[in-house]
């Protein structure tokens, strides 16, 4: 085995530029696959963290009629907040949110929005509810930066808001933007405004009522009050998970193209080697090597390409990937405009498992691709091979 390994290294380095071309192409594959997967991992982690911090909490209780994909459900989706949660709400561990529809008139334009009421005492979500406490305005409002940009609103702006109360009667008032928050989660930003919960309850004629209850870090112990349904964190994050899965599946196409290019080069090299090195093959067998040992030698030579590629990729890849992991990659808000939870900068996450599986996968593929043409050796006649006759 040691001899085979030595021979394989010698033959590989002896092939010169041909070997290095293969190794360089394969190292690109290593690097791009690890980088792409790392980027998706980074996005996944960031999106999940942002969703939990800004929207979902660790789970939510929904009023039984509430369906976020059906705005019609909002008319009926409100109930008294269950008294069992009173202590947790006071502590800020549960954030009750009341949701209704309304219309604002920024700069004389009509704009349908969601009005969401949230308690200033809550500590579950990152929404700066404490700003409500500092405001003396009749109807203070917090909006996200996208909402502000889309409607030309800025802190201190006053505009008319119109809504319908619990009975369906129109009401209107002047609202004042007291703060603009910046978030990566468009579903708490676009097309909505945040007002103090008690104020919205009063506006709607729904005292003590809420549409959803966002949970913080506490154990619900499986208790779901009557008239409410519990949605776990995984259920609430399913959209993000599905998008990442879809992106990962799309990435496979890229991996296949990259790997095909590298494997084609290796396959071609192997075929050429077997064709050009027939005398050598005959000599090995004449000197006492079995056919399978010779097949093993050629397979080893081929698969060592991936080892050299892994080493080369480590040389220039580790600094590059490390740099990106610390500096991040800027998406400059393009994806956010499509409603995706994407930070302005994504920091790729490279786990040991990711690197190890990528190396194993590439090595395995290279070995198989190296072995396939080498099987011809087993059918060669040693005497003919020694004469260098084409077989």
């Amino acid at each position: 085995m040691k001899l085979l390994f030595k021979l394989a290294i010698k033959n590989l380095t002896g092939a010169g530029l041909r070997t290095w071309l293969n190794v360089i192409v394969l190292s690109f594959s290593f690097l791009i696959i690890i980088w792409h997967k790392g980027l998706l991992n980074g996005w996944d982690r960031q999106a999940r963290n942002d969703m939990v911090n800004w929207e979902t909490g660790t789970g939510q209780f929904w009023q039984s009629s509430y369906d976020p994909f059906d705005p019609f459900s909002l008319t009926d989706a409100h109930s008294k907040i269950p008294s069992v949660f009173d202590t947790l709400i006071t502590k800020g561990e549960i954030a009750p949110v009341l949701i209704t529809q309304g219309t604002i008139y920024p700069r004389g334009r009509i704009q349908s929005i969601l009005i969401k009421g949230i308690s200033s005492a809550q500590r579950v979500l990152k929404l700066p509810g404490e700003l409500f406490l500092k405001s003396n305005d009749d109807l203070p409002v917090l909006i996200g930066s996208k909402m502000a940009r889309d409607n030309g609103l800025k802190t201190g702006d006053v505009t008319t808001i119109r809504w319908r109360d619990v009975h369906g009667t129109f009401d209107a008032n002047e609202m004042k933007v007291i703060g603009i928050f910046d978030t990566n989660v468009p579903s708490v930003d676009a097309g909505q405004i945040w007002v103090p919960l008690d104020r919205l309850q009063k506006m709607m004629g729904m005292p003590g009522e809420a549409t959803i209850l966002v949970c913080g870090n506490f154990d619900t112990n499986g208790r779901t009050p009557e008239g409410w349904k519990f949605k776990s964190s995984e259920e609430l994050l399913k959209t993000v998970t599905d998008i990442i899965k879809m992106k990962s599946a799309g990435g496979i196409v890229l991996y296949i193209i990259l790997m095909s290019l590298a494997m084609l080069a290796i396959f071609d090299t192997q075929v050429l080697s077997i064709f050009r090195r027939q005398k050598e093959i005959g000599t090995y067998i004449a000197l006492g090597m079995t056919r399978s040992q010779v097949v093993g030698l050629f397979t080893l030579e081929g698969s060592l390409n991936s080892v050299l590629a892994a080493l080369l990729a480590a040389v220039y890849g580790i600094p590059l990937l490390a740099l990106q992991a610390t500096k991040g990659m800027s998406f400059a808000g393009t994806a956010k405009s499509y409603g995706l939870v994407v930070a302005d900068k994504i920091f790729p996450v490279y786990s040991l498992g990711l690197v190890a599986t990528t190396i194993i996968l590439i090595m395995l593929t290279t070995t198989i691709v190296s072995y396939l043409p080498s099987r011809r050796i087993a059918k060669m006649k040693p005497t003919e091979a020694l004469r260098g006759k084409l077989q």
Binding site: Y105, G108, R109, G168, T169, F170, D171, A172
Partner: protein
């Protein structure tokens, strides 16, 4: 003394009766307005001219309505909207679009949205509410609207669920048609203004053929609603108010 007192008392009674005859109560005025404006059923062709800050669009439609809760509208023009149909039954509205060949249902807050960027909501366009069923009135005084003498009446909602808590209407003293309307939110904020004109006698009642709606919170010059022809209390087949008629 007795001979003088009796005629004086009689005169006072007579005067008060005659004054009351000249000043009908708010309820009487609203009742007369309802008699003119509302009907068991209505079939009309209308033209809606929407004045947006950038352009003006005209939409023609034919509508059938029965009472307060059933209404059906079909757009006749422009070509892009031709064939679009809307059916409203109570608080539910279905819209059929021929370009997509699909029926979509809207309800709740969506009914309060503007129709094709106009100043009318689906409710405004398709409902025919009897004021007396939902409001109580108070005569605030008299005012001239254009060259017409009007009663100014403030209507306050008596039932929950009405869109506007308060309305102020200027009712023509002779024709009992509101020539001006102001619709207010619960907080007292003015939301919409309507001006009604071209009052004609149709089938024994007075009716305005032109209405100008203005959402005062929104920019623009408002939306004109012109009645081209109208028939009251005609028999409308039941199938008109069915979902099947949307795709016919």
């Amino acid at each position: 003394m007795r001979k003088i007192a009796i005629p004086i008392i009689l005169l006072i009674i007579l005067l008060s009766v005659s004054l009351n005859a000249q000043n009908p109560s708010a309820r009487e005025i609203i009742e007369k307005v309802d008699n003119n404006m509302s009907a068991v059923s209505r079939v009309f062709t209308s033209k809606m001219i929407i004045h947006n800050p950038r352009n003006t669009r005209t939409v023609e439609s034919r509508s059938w309505s029965m009472g307060e809760n059933k209404s059906f509208t079909e757009y006749l023009s422009p070509p892009r909207e031709q064939g679009t149909k809307m059916l409203k039954l109570d608080n539910l509205l279905w819209i059929f679009s021929p370009s997509t060949d699909r029926i979509i249902q809207i309800s709740g807050h969506m009914l309060r949205q503007s129709v094709m960027g106009s100043d009318l909501s689906y409710e405004d366009m398709m409902e025919d509410p009897h004021l007396l069923n939902h409001y109580t009135g108070k005569v605030d005084g008299e005012e001239k609207t254009g060259d017409r003498n009007c009663w100014v009446i403030t209507l306050t909602a008596t039932s929950t669920g009405v869109a506007y808590q308060t309305q102020k209407i200027w009712v023509d003293k002779d024709h009992f048609i509101p020539l001006r309307k102001e619709l207010y939110a619960k907080s007292g904020v003015l939301l919409k203004r309507m001006e009604l004109s071209d009052v004609l006698r149709i089938q024994g009642r007075w009716f305005p053929k032109k209405m100008l709606f203005k959402d005062v919170l929104k920019e623009g010059e408002g939306t004109e609603f012109q009645i081209m022809d109208i028939e009251f209390n005609v028999k409308i087949p039941d199938y008109i108010f069915s979902k099947a008629s949307l795709k016919k």
